[in-house]
């Protein structure tokens, strides 16, 4: 599974050649902007047809390999010769500024940046919190959170709202509160900070201040749960680590913070984009309104179609790796482009068509390999509940602005909408 011999690299036919100049096929700087939510950068297609990998220039001035094929992408994500450690030189997109790099190097890594046995240990300690059964237990509470926010939307006389503010941001934030065990009285404090924290329009110094406040808050919350445990993820983690003699407050704070960051913006953006996708395809939306059984496959298709965390799946080669005719040198940065993989026509027929009945689950919207999203069952459930409830309770929901006027985030690593004016 982990060793891939050059002659049998999945996703590269043996006749493919990498072309001249180590496969440079485009002089565009990556990551590329998406023109609109319904298009993928044409460069992805160029790379895919070419190899399916190419050396590209990054906006940081560095170079990295860009992998645009589905099969090769999955193979590399499953290959342990590639590291997730963001502190390594050449890790794609990490700032080249020495000061920022030093700050990063001084921080404790959380699970997402660990490799091998260290990663397995951290992941295994947390895995039990995200089982399909445990997540199903959260369903009624998530339904309640969604209903409350839709109640609020409906109680306004204006019959308009910014869906990002009204639903997309608060729902996943409150679900994480529920998961971690943030007491009800602190929800406002928590939410007032987690929203701006993940908004790209928030100035860096404000974001840093909020990050500090949240870390202080999470530390105090953990202290409270040490003395007064409740029925939640943090209390169970504390008990588990105490029993094993591995309790470490700092790493528990950083784990809680990772869950907040990884589970908030992603889910929020999928809510907003999912609503745009559904509203732009009214005939398909009608289908899921009629039959909620069709919502789970529709959610899979929306995840595939938008693959919002396109470039989160980046790695650094720890040794020379032969991929087909191309040698990736030790130390090279590699980006396994999820969006490109999920629009690979050899795997998804007519990939640029949103087909809510496609129901294909082998997309890489949640990544692949040992780091595949730990929160995916939760995310799927949140999205299903939101779409089902929103369109059942507000059947006349529509966009209140032309698609061209909706500010989609072009600068962000996680694609989404800055604001989403809706009316009913």
């Amino acid at each position: 599974m982990t060793e891939t011999a050059s002659t049998t690299t999945p996703g590269i036919s043996s006749t493919t050649t990498s072309g001249p100049a180590s496969g440079e096929v485009t002089d565009a700087e990556f990551p590329l902007e998406r023109g609109c939510p319904f298009s993928t950068p044409t460069e992805y297609e160029q790379i895919r047809e070419h190899s399916p990998l190419a050396k590209v220039r990054l906006t940081t001035g560095r170079e990295a390999w860009w992998i645009a094929g589905h099969e090769l992408g999955r193979a590399v994500l499953a290959d342990r010769r590639f590291s997730s450690d963001r502190r390594r030189d050449n890790f794609p997109f990490v700032s080249t500024d020495p000061e920022t790099r030093k700050q990063l190097q001084d921080q404790p890594t959380s699970m997402i940046g660990m490799d091998g046995a260290e990663h397995a240990q951290a992941r295994r300690a947390l895995m039990g919190e995200f089982t399909v059964r445990r997540m199903a237990g959260l369903r009624p509470r998530i339904q309640q959170i969604v209903d409350q926010h839709i109640d609020e939307m409906l109680s306004s006389d204006q019959r308009t709202a910014d869906l990002v503010e009204a639903l997309s941001l608060p729902v996943p934030s409150l679900v994480i509160c529920e998961l971690l065990g943030v007491p009800y009285a602190d929800h406002d404090f928590f939410q007032a900070r987690s929203g701006p924290l993940i908004r790209h329009t928030t100035p860096t110094e404000v974001r840093l201040r909020i990050q500090k406040e949240l870390n202080t808050y999470l530390g105090a919350l953990i202290d409270r749960k040490v003395t007064d445990p409740t029925d939640d993820l943090l209390s169970r983690q504390i008990a588990k680590h105490h029993a094993a003699g591995t309790f470490d407050r700092t790493s528990l704070v950083s784990m809680a913070f990772l869950l907040l960051i990884a589970g908030h913006e992603t889910t929020a953006n999928m809510i907003s984009l999912g609503v745009v996708g559904l509203l732009q395809h009214p005939d398909q939306l009608a289908m899921i309104k009629e039959d909620p059984e069709k919502t789970p496959p529709a959610v899979e298709e929306l995840l595939r179609y938008f693959t919002i965390a396109d470039t989160v799946t980046a790695r650094v080669a720890t040794e020379d790796v032969q991929l087909g005719d191309t040698t990736i040198n030790a130390g090279d940065g590699v980006v396994i482009s999820g969006l490109a993989a999920d629009h690979d026509p050899t795997v998804f027929t007519d990939p640029d068509r949103l087909d809510l009945e496609r129901g294909a689950r082998h997309h890489v919207a949640f990544g692949f390999g040992p780091h595949q999203c730990i929160g995916q069952t939760l995310a799927r459930m949140e999205l299903q509940i939101v779409f089902d409830t929103l369109f059942r309770r507000i059947p006349t929901l529509r966009l209140a602005a032309p698609l061209d006027d909706i500010p989609f985030k072009s600068d962000a690593f996680v694609y989404g909408a800055e604001r989403l004016p809706v009316a009913w």
Partner: protein, 68 residues
């Protein structure tokens, strides 16, 4: 056919349980647990799909004599 699950490799993403809860389950610690090693009919079909979907390579299929 027979399914094998390598519990040392499983990363508990639950893709298999989502694919067919009559074949796959998870222990409380998130690790995969096979309800049956020999799924039949539609369940066999879905078990194959689960092997394809498993992100960690924990699941494998072994074809056995007499398989059609």
């Amino acid at each position: 056919m027979r399914i094998e699950a390598d519990t040392d490799v499983c990363i508990g993403a639950g893709q298999c349980v989502l694919t067919d809860p009559t074949v796959f389950d998870q222990h409380d610690d998130g690790i995969v647990m096979l309800i049956t090693k020999h799924p039949e009919g539609g369940a066999a079909h879905r078990a194959r799909e689960a092997v394809e979907l498993c992100p960690s390579g924990a699941l494998s299929l072994i074809e056995e004599p007499g398989d059609s």
